[in-house]
Symmetry: C2
Subunit: 246 residues, 2 copies
Amino acid sequence: MANPAAPNETPEAPVPPWERTRKVKATARTPLSQEAIVETALHILESDGYDALSMRRVAADLGTGAASLYAHVANKDELLKLAIDRVFAEAEIPEPDPENWVEQLRDAMRQTRRILQAHPGLARSMLGRVPMGPSGIRLVEGFMGLLRAGNLPDKVAAWAGDVISLYVVASVFEDDVRYSVHGETSQEDVEKWAGEMKAYVKSLPVATFPNLVALADPMFETGGPDGRFEFGLDLMLRGLASHAQH
Amino acid sequence: MANPAAPNETPEAPVPPWERTRKVKATARTPLSQEAIVETALHILESDGYDALSMRRVAADLGTGAASLYAHVANKDELLKLAIDRVFAEAEIPEPDPENWVEQLRDAMRQTRRILQAHPGLARSMLGRVPMGPSGIRLVEGFMGLLRAGNLPDKVAAWAGDVISLYVVASVFEDDVRYSVHGETSQEDVEKWAGEMKAYVKSLPVATFPNLVALADPMFETGGPDGRFEFGLDLMLRGLASHAQH
DNA sequence: TCTACACGCGAACACCGTTCGAGTCAAACG
DNA sequence: CGTTTGACTCGAACGGTGTTCGCGTGTAGA
């Protein structure tokens, strides 16, 4: 079982730089590696949510102690950064089509949302941090490509990517927190909660809250799990389109 | 800010013996109340940020133990809710003017942003929670009034309030996190950080990141502390205006 | 003056992220 | 084929967190 692939006779020649860094890690039977740690963290996020993710929990799932993780990961923050970049590797941004850039951008944002939703809680650690890992930067490059296909002023294109991404992340964040706070809610629970809220708002004194009472029905129409997100996204894309140079 | 409670630094001399025997004095001072607790929490947020806010710290600043707070406040979450509602009491939404509703809405959102910024960290606990306290609901009523003045479809008005608020809160949240992570940054530090990022992006291989390299300059143009926020807000308001009925 | 009860609050519980340092074990060297 | 070496492991501990328990005290009402 002692790695048979190792060249045992060659004196010094084959020592490529990328092998050099891995050389030490290859020695151990690798019960622990950065990749395994990130994978475990993602699995915990997926199954038990953000609050369940602790260094101790990750270590326990790997059958070790928390201290062992720190040999492969600087701290929890870095672990989260790695996890974020890990999931963004799945993103696929199409070649920009100038005829269709708005819909392409819409789909790209939907895709980003779905990726984040698959691991609720990741959005929580994304806000305020620029995703600068290899996958993150590739994704941003993709966004910028789509935006540049829209014949927008440079500043509009550059800032729009930032601002729309913020909306997407915040949207997932909000949903995740709502789920966490309100228990393991299915779409059915959401409808029920919305019903209660609507009843409360309708019970408000009309004299002091005329507009809330008037809009109670549409306000608590859930519009399905994506309705509100799509509406906000559309709002920004409409605004963006109005910047397109004739 | 007339805070009746003394900070834990004990600026006052120790209680003299003749005062100590007068037990009447002790009752008159009402050392603990929900209002005082919320006030203290806001003061901590304002001066030391979100991470400094703990139940023990609030209690210490009030010269007592953490357990005592739970007689007036259910838990930290409720304390934060109360604090949010407390600051929103300052908000003043004007009478809707159908000629000018977009600018009124813009100002209302700017005002909301300024209020949240005054207590960085509050935004962090707002996401995912509907502000249903007396002040919060008054604010939402104000938003809805402005939106209804815009002659928008009911559903658009109702959802837009939600979605634009989300953007405002997320925007403050993001700034706050960036400040926290990156140290006590002044606007000058922000410019410096942006400069470093720009240099990095410009150093990327043009072949694989053509759009990032092309947009590096506008992307890291900070546009002052409000530039990006105003841009995103404008994006949503433009989109909203496009929904106005003929 | 005496009693009853609400409330202050020290101590404790179960967590958290992170650090320290002794122990281990495979690889490299002589 | 020892011996040394040093990266990796991980129990224990540190200083924090939110929250609960229950004793004791001080104040209000009788």
